[in-house]
Symmetry: C2
Subunit: 355 residues, 2 copies
């Protein structure tokens, strides 16, 4: 069994403005410690997947930075989508690339911008899921045991009778719920968060795409013919222009009867907002997390990022303060989700320097 | 009657950090509109005092900037104190300079960094006080009718029987009170705020200094001999080194029996903190005062100064946000007085670039 990984690195992370920008989105930032999220994502595969077996699918804005950040991954494995077309197309492209190397490969599909610290558990989970997927030709997803009625994630309902150790049949997928539904999910005990991490054989996902998204499949067949040839970029552009913009969850996972789930036994975060960064950061006795020279007086439970400029906070609490070269954000922690509205505002006012 | 003005411009304004710095304190900043506070102070005298009759007493850090900001005042009228020695010495020096021009002059003593918008009333008040001081050889101070139990100002108690229109005998001076005393002052009705603006004949203040601060007087006599001569700077340094560090209020006004008061019938502010700047600024419908490109969402009653960098505020209220080239301040409006503690901290840590 050969394992390949396809890392999806196309996100723009507008909730991390003003740190995230179109040329430097969330996965390219050092949100925690000295490495970027994508560097950590690649490092987490060390020992499980060979560097040469790791593909990264991104876009034109980011490809240069990504090559620079993970120089040990072969350049030709880092591919820029000509257009953003949601996860089904991205995964289809990944499958075509992996298949060209090994028709029997197991393909891990992983977002570039999640936080997982327990590498050993992560690799164990993936390895067992890969063995199951290799043997049974099932689609396997990783479910996260929910800790709060989160409305920002999709959920997966599973049948609580293990088929083998930590492998369950999926009953249904549920899109991002409203709060009362999310609370019901949490109480029910058989709903998990959809992590967006998938494990399958490359031939399995291609068959499933053929059944549920035949038009996408046709595009992938077209694309397959030019992999490794001079006209690949041109074909990619032509094919991608015609692909449907649909997620793999909606396009395949919700429709297939062949879907399984393994529960993560590691801590996981999709690092979805500055609030989550605050939650995940080390804090001082006053509950403040600081990056840079920061003076605090009567200040509590705040996240302050100002690496280049001295910052003084007095008499405030529950704030997120992000001070970059170009812009300043001062936000109540409760309003962390509204940061993307600033990005919308800047787009509308064509303030491209700030995006 | 010839009127001269001595503008005291030695303050460092540490409560306006990070905008105010040792080389650019409060009076040299454009806190409101397009002119600095000292430019407005000089402009307020237009028509009442000739430019050639205006002296500015400052220090070495600021003298260059001040000459640049008020180029219509003769350079030789702008004097740098060799050491900061509180208001008695500064006023003594001013008296020596004025006396050298006109022994019978009336001398207005004015802080450089107050906000007074009603120029007509201001000039009327000064003019009447000057006439009274010229005729009676009294020391006249301007009292401000208090609007709140402010603990940051000195108070003046007066005898509520006018000697002539808007001229009262002063009963006593009171230093900055605690809150309960300030409340009592406010209720009593015969306590006014001490504005720090004084009107007197130059010969009167010299006589009063001679009586109450004889050592200072001796220094001034020494200094008088070298005014207009080559050795003035050298003498100034020698004399100043030996002068007592004492305020005119404590050294003369509280001790003299010859003190009168005129009530200001104009709005006045000593612009003592960012909170006061907020109060005095124009605000939008949400009560926010903004300088620079500022995006606000669910944000109320805040003052934001960020002229060079786009700033977004979300879900916050009662904040002061000051974003300069070198530093950032985020402060609850209630804690505006604590800004000077940041300056103390920076001094202690020898962060001179930030001071």
């Amino acid at each position: 069994m050969k394992i390949y990984a396809v890392i999806m690195a196309g996100g723009i992370g507008s909730r991390f403005w003003p740190r995230s920008k179109s040329k430097k989105p969330k996965q390219l930032l050092k949100i925690f410690g000295n490495n970027t999220l994508i560097q950590n994502t690649v490092a987490r595969l060390n020992g499980l997947v060979e560097n040469d077996h790791i593909f990264v699918i991104t876009n034109k804005n980011q490809v240069k930075q990504i090559k620079k950040q993970i120089p040990h991954i072969p350049e030709e494995n880092i591919i820029a989508e000509p257009f953003g077309k949601n996860t089904a197309a991205c995964i289809g492209l990944g499958a075509v690339l992996v298949e060209h190397r090994d028709k029997d490969a197991v393909m891990l599909t992983l977002p570039a911008d999640h936080l997982i610290l327990d590498v050993q558990s992560f690799q164990n989970t993936l390895k067992k899921a890969a063995e199951f997927a290799y043997e049974t030709k099932g689609l396997v997803t990783i479910g996260i045991t929910p800790t709060r009625p989160e409305t920002g994630y999709g959920y997966i309902q599973y049948i609580d009778e293990p088929l083998r150790e930590n492998i369950y049949k999926v009953r249904t997928f549920a899109e991002k719920p409203n709060l009362s539904t999310a609370k019901r999910f949490l109480q029910s005990g058989d709903f998990l968060w959809n992590s967006g991490m998938f494990i399958w054989r490359v031939d399995t996902i291609k068959s499933e795409i053929k059944i549920h998204l035949p038009d996408l499949y046709e595009g992938l067949v077209e694309l397959s013919k030019s992999v490794g040839k001079d006209d690949f970029d041109e074909t990619l552009t032509n094919v991608y222009g015609q692909l449907r913009n649909i997620s793999i969850d909606y396009g395949v996972m919700e429709k297939s009867k062949n879907v399984y789930l393994t529960k993560a036994d590691f801590n996981w975060s999709d690092v979805g907002s500055w609030e989550e960064v605050y939650q995940l950061s080390d804090k001082d006795d006053s509950g403040n997390a600081k990056v840079g020279k920061v003076y605090t007086d009567k200040t509590y439970s705040s996240y302050i990022y100002s690496p280049k400029k001295f910052t003084a906070l007095i008499g405030v609490e529950n704030l997120i303060v992000i001070n970059t070269k170009n812009a300043l954000l001062v936000c109540n922690r409760e309003n962390a989700q509204d940061v993307k509205k600033v990005v919308d505002y800047l787009k509308m006012h064509k303030e491209t320097d700030l995006l």
